[in-house]
């Protein structure tokens, strides 16, 4: 029987010019001649980026890239590679690790040059709704390798040896979790994918699932084999309809291909996955709350121990990992822990995906090796601060991360360095803040989110964050009192140390880190009634300065008729009436309105 192949021909401009379409037609003729049209399919892709080596053709499975092809090469490829299964080394472009594929595809400009794509390796390359695409890029090879060549113990050992740590935020050793779950005798066991991404502005997990859902399915199936679970659950927030559709399709397709279900790949191992939708509670990203939610109970965390690996879903041993963690698994199994360990720092191996946002030129989804510095991300990948503004701080780790000022820009990104600097890795939010933002206001913004999303179970988080928010609010309104900073610190430390779950244990971080690094801004608000960023509306006045030409635009937009003045004469704002809405400021074309 002839093997099945899928050939991707680069359909980019350069390859077309160098004869790719002619070669494609020729390839079809030869396939006809050898009666291979049933088993070999041809697909097109966008520019693969290696334009100097065109025309380019990729043969999968195996990911053999043929470059610089001529008409004479086509019959050879058909006869040698497609019929005999012998790739032609002479025509192939060098092969190396999985992750490099992405960069061969997208070239090496500044945005991608500092990145390294392990978990996002297929995103943007494959059709996420096509299992054939995934299969063609060595998809499910890791699962096959685990089931056929490795014992469950070896799989666990490989993951443990890789040094992979949980990408959900806390950074617990993934291998240790696997080992604990595998060691439990109770059955059934469960494997859960935590896709309840809830950080405001974060879209790492959504993109990963939307771009490459099979990786998650494969990672979970490998774990099922390794820890002895026969059931997996993807807990995904209902606000991600496209991701839900793709992962659902991926599961169905995998099932249809014998990659899920009874006797996976003809082995004794059976494993299936179902989807559970979250209803939008941030706290359900906490593993015990997530488990309660699946069980049909209110999504509230419970004290650990017992950890889910011992007593999890329905009281059974449960392995729960984040989307990004799962996406690393097939790579670790295929390329090996020894290779994986070469990426990253001493204590944090591999890469990390970040959603880069805020006051930075290039915003978007990036994946960098652990150890990359904040400066490299913000200035090299992110392209620096727009409009020539000054960098003020970077906030990492989502709403419960800390704000780091300029002196921390050379901090290498890994779990421990970020913690030492006073922030957290978190699940990968990264927000750049420039001089226009008030740090008290920023702290208030984040705390408002966590305070809203507190599940309400434990006292420090439920009551304490509310009081902190009240204090922050009055500081930004110019009603701060002496001792407020100390109260924030006292409550903040107590909440971190005494709360039940990770939400409360990290909620005060933005406040404490801004007090630590920007204390003077707090003091200015309280003692001088001044907001240096001019962001706190209660603490600023709008005044018309002498560049005013008397056009009257401000007078017309003012909702409370606080502006008066004759045409072509300098206007005046009645401060008694002004509600500080800022509409005059936004309307003035002559920079004649100043925030004072």
């Amino acid at each position: 029987m002839t093997a099945t192949y899928r050939i991707i021909v680069c359909d980019g401009t350069t390859c077309i010019n160098s004869g790719a379409r002619r070669l494609t037609a020729l390839l079809k003729e030869h396939l006809d001649k050898h009666d291979l049209t049933e088993t070999v399919t041809i697909g097109l892709s966008g520019c693969l980026g290696m334009c100097d080596k065109g025309p380019i053709m990729v043969v999968n499975p195996g990911y053999t890239i043929y470059g610089g092809l001529s008409e004479a090469d086509i019959p050879k490829i058909v006869e040698e590679h497609l019929i005999k299964g012998q790739p032609i080394a002479r025509l192939a472009i060098q092969e190396d690790h999985l992750y490099n594929r992405f960069f061969r595809v997208f070239g090496d400009d500044k945005f991608f040059g500092h990145q390294m794509r392990i978990t996002l390796r297929n995103c943007g390359i494959i059709d996420p709704e096509s299992i054939d695409d995934y299969l063609s890029l060595r998809g499910y090879e890791a699962l096959a390798k685990a089931i056929t060549d490795m014992t469950p113990e070896q799989v666990v050992a490989e993951v443990e040896s890789s040094g992979l740590r949980g990408r959900g935020g806390a950074g617990f050793s993934t291998g240790t979790k696997w080992k604990f779950t595998a060691a439990q005798e109770a059955t059934p066991k469960y494997v859960i994918c935590n896709a309840d991404e809830g950080d405001p502005g974060a879209f790492m997990d959504r993109s990963a699932i939307e771009g490459d859902p099979h990786t998650i399915v494969e990672g979970m199936a490998i774990a099922g084999y390794a820890v002895g679970a026969d059931k997996g659950i993807v807990y995904i927030r209902a606000e991600y309809p496209l991701a839900i559709r793709r992962i659902t399709k991926a599961i169905e397709d995998a099932r249809a291909h014998g990659l899920l279900g009874d006797n996976v790949l003809g082995s004794d191992f059976s494993f299936d996955i179902e989807i559970r939708l979250g209803a939008g509670a941030f706290v359900c990203g906490e593993e015990t709350a997530l488990i309660h939610s699946i069980e049909g109970a209110r999504g509230m965390p419970r004290p650990r121990p017992p950890y889910p690996s011992v007593r999890g879903l329905f009281g059974q041993p449960t392995l729960i990992n984040n989307v990004e963690t799962w996406a690393n698994i097939p790579v670790i199994i295929l390329d090996g822990a020894n290779w994986f360990k070469t990426v990253g720092t001493e204590t944090s191996k591999g890469t990390k995906v970040f959603a880069l946002a805020g006051k930075v030129v290039n915003t978007g989804l990036i994946e960098v090796p652990m150890g990359t510095t904040l400066r490299e991300i913000i200035y090299d990948i992110g392209g620096g601060i727009p409009q020539g503004k000054t960098f003020k701080a970077v906030q990492t780790g989502g709403p419960s991360g800390g704000c780091l000022p300029e002196e921390y820009l050379d901090t290498p990104i890994d779990y421990d360095s970020l913690a030492k600097a006073g922030s957290i890795m978190g699940s990968g939010g990264m927000i750049v803040i420039d001089e226009d933002s008030c740090m008290v206001d920023i702290a208030k913004f984040f705390l408002e989110f966590t305070q809203n999303e507190s599940c309400g179970k434990c006292t420090p988080c439920r009551e304490g964050t509310k009081r902190m928010l009240e204090i922050l609010t009055r500081i930004t309104e110019g009603k701060g009192q002496n001792g407020d900073i100390e109260k924030l610190e006292r409550l903040g430390h107590m909440i971190i140390k005494s709360s039940l779950c990770g939400l409360g244990q990290s909620a005060p971080n933005p406040v404490l880190s801004t007090i630590k690094n920007f204390r003077v801004e707090y003091e200015e608000h309280i003692t001088e009634g001044k907001c240096r960023a001019r962001a706190c509306s209660n603490l600023l006045t709008y005044e018309i300065i002498d560049t005013c030409v008397g056009c009257g635009a401000c007078r017309k937009v003012c909702p409370v008729a606080a502006i008066s003045g004759s045409p072509k004469k300098e206007h005046v704002i009645d401060q008694e009436k002004c509600v500080k809405c800022g509409m005059c400021f936004n309307t003035c074309k002559f920079d004649a309105i100043a925030k004072v």
């Binding site: 599940c455 309400g456 434990c458 006292t459 439920r462 005494s498």
Partner: protein, 592 residues
Amino acid sequence: MDNNKITITINDRDYQVVAGQTIMQAADQCGYHIPRLCYHPKLSIEGACRVCIVQVEGAKNHVASCACPVADGMKIHTNTKELRQARRDIVELLLDNHPEDCHTCERDGNCELQRLAYSMGIRHRHFTGERKHYEKDLSGASVIRDPDKCILCGRCVRMCSEIQGVHCLTQAHRGFNTVVMPAYNLPFAETVCSGCGQCINVCPTASFVEKNHTQELFETLSDKSLVKVAQFAPSVRAAIGEAFGLAAGRNMEGELIAAMRKMGFDYVFDTQFAADLTIMEEGSEFLERIQSGGPLPLITSCSSAWMKYMEQFYPDLIDNISTAKSPMSMASALFKTYWAEKMDIAPKKILSVAAMCCTAKKYEAARPELDVNGMRATDIVVTTREMAWMIKSAGIDFVNIEPEKPDTPLGLSSGAGAIFGVTGGVMEAAVRTAYELYTGETLVDIEMAAIRGFQGIKEATVTIDGKDLRLVVAHGLGNAHQVMEMVREDPSRFHFVEIMGCPGGCIGGGGQPYATANSIPLDEEALRLRAQALYDLDRGKTIRRSHDNPDIQRLYKEFLGRPLSEKAHELLHTHYEAHLPKGIVSPNLKVV
């Protein structure tokens, strides 16, 4: 050395403790009482209040001692400066979101939050701010809910679901807006609440209290046109002393009768008499069903919370429920018929009051099918707590009062009537009588050890006339649920089922005195002592079988004829109806 023992250090002192327990349990045994709030030994670990935090060397954060197991070599600190401040601040945060109305609060002087705040040394506030406000739910016949006073310890939620299996309460909303409420925030009156009042028992504050009838009762007691008749349940006498600082388990029967007379009651009868009557009716009903072949098992019906629970969740078993009214309702029915006739008092002039260990009895008293000749049989029900408060309020020296005897003929009772108040008691009392009614022989060994004690479900077999009858006793609605599932699965498994809605039976009722500073709600030892008081009462009586009670015999002779007579059916029996719970439809529920 005991393999099971490990060494831990608490506050720099070494202790050998048994492995597998929590830090809190180990510390308790080593003489350190770590402050606590949401913890309750009978409920699952919530870990919510964070008052019981300790420091464990090597741990990044404070550890909730209620939840964390001890480990060999663990070094624990329970009283450092940092902990004292953290705990103090945590309790202050609770106070900051709690009404400052201690002086006018139902639980003033008996509030766990108040005690905790005092022991934390909170003398001024740092963090005052916005406070939550919700409407009180006054709709329930038994239980009042005041979310403003709730500190979200979750004990009521766990009690209602884990022990009682009612699942009426849950936390709703998030963060600062979190509030404990029934599903869909339905008024209590429309929910599955059984009225058992166990939420009141475990609430550390006054977020749950009974519907208070003390003022209404004081008013009517001063109405000279009425004849005021009281009855009191077996368990009231076994527990009311605790409200006056006496140790648990003191039988205060005589003192209670005397106090009630001093308060203005004209006649004080004993519900234990009606308990004897219940045995006559229910025992006869049982024998009739045994002889006529069913429907079996016969399931007891004297617990009002259980009746509501059954009508909602087990309407398919209504035919199995004894039609005998509860002792309270039997007594009240007789006050306004037999006794009124005998005393030549117009029934409308009779005020029938019941002092009960139960909050659900308030709901039962209002059930229209229990009316007698168009009148409410029981006009007012007050709980043990309310009665204790009224005695204090009326300025009666309860502890030193000269004990008195109940009025007759509805006051004399057998020992069987007394043990009604403890789980297993109804069954035991019924067997004493049924055995004799059936065989004509006297049962010699009348104390049934197998159905005594606080095990949740107790089974026993008794042989009557060569026939093995399988009995089962359950207390607490959660256990009742389990037994009902057994019955559904195999109706022939049991012949007779006794259900009490509250843990321990009526002695653990939702209307019993609050735990004091040195005890915990539903403390097993206190329950045991209350039970012992009733067993002692039984043992101290010459008459220990209901059918031997001469006043019972006289009642049948003069008025009712015989058990299950037409008259008895009219006054002493009732019927039940399925109530489909709003919003909750059990898959097992047969829509009738």
